[in-house]
Amino acid sequence: MKVRIKAFARFREIIGSENTLELHNGTSVLGALKSLSAGSKDFRDACFDKEGNVASHVVLMINGKRISGSDRDAVELDEGDELAVFPPVAGG
């Protein structure tokens, strides 16, 4: 399946604003982010904590909706999903 990854702010600077990943059906958010980080140590450092979990300050959205909770990175992605990854917002 194909999943689009949109990145903003410091994450965009590392991996670019948009990537399309070809993933196995049922791949989780964690799996998608690990797939991206395989090619970028900077992204891995920015996105994951020392235990290999998605760092708590990283904001995640699927199709424009925030996903939260301790198991948020276990959410499975579907064909055509747009996963957004970014730091805490700073508008206003």
Binding site: F8, A9, G64, V89, G92
Partner: protein
């Protein structure tokens, strides 16, 4: 009016448009680029989602307080010190709810709307840290 745009906004015009026969108070908030030793900044947004969240914030504010209208315009792109960043215009029958509504809108905007600022210094650049952790709209 809810809008993300690169261009500056016409404050007076938007205030005039917010007036209605029942309006007794209009409170306006304008966020501007402060000189923190910077030369300018660039604002980046997750455009579609940011506009949708601004619409949600307006709906929340109008549900929470007896407001007549809420307008929010947020700029993106390159800005210099002194430039306008965001305009919030809240009209209501009385001042108290207009002040409360306006404060509610800017506080929620800073918590949830996916917009980021990168500041440019003479020989450096830095991302502005978000004031709040991620908190979903309620």
């Amino acid at each position: 009016m809810i809008r993300l745009q690169q261009d500056d906004f016409e404050v007076g015009k938007i205030i005039e448009e917010a007036k209605s026969s029942g309006s007794g108070a209009i409170v306006t908030f304008i966020g501007i680029v402060r000189d923190d030793g910077i030369e300018g900044m660039e604002l980046e947004a997750y455009h579609d989602v940011a506009e949708r969240e601004l619409i949600s914030i307006r709906e929340e504010a109008m549900k929470e307080f007896p407001l007549h209208s809420v307008d929010i315009i947020h700029r993106t792109g390159p800005l210099r010190v002194g430039d306008n960043i965001v305009l919030i215009v809240v009209s209501a029958g009385h001042r108290k709810e207009a002040f409360l509504g306006c404060e509610y809108v800017i506080d929620r905007l800073k918590q949830t709307v996916p917009i980021w600022k990168k500041e440019y210094l003479k020989d450096d650049e830095r991302w502005v840290e978000g004031e709040h952790g991620p908190r979903p709209a309620t």
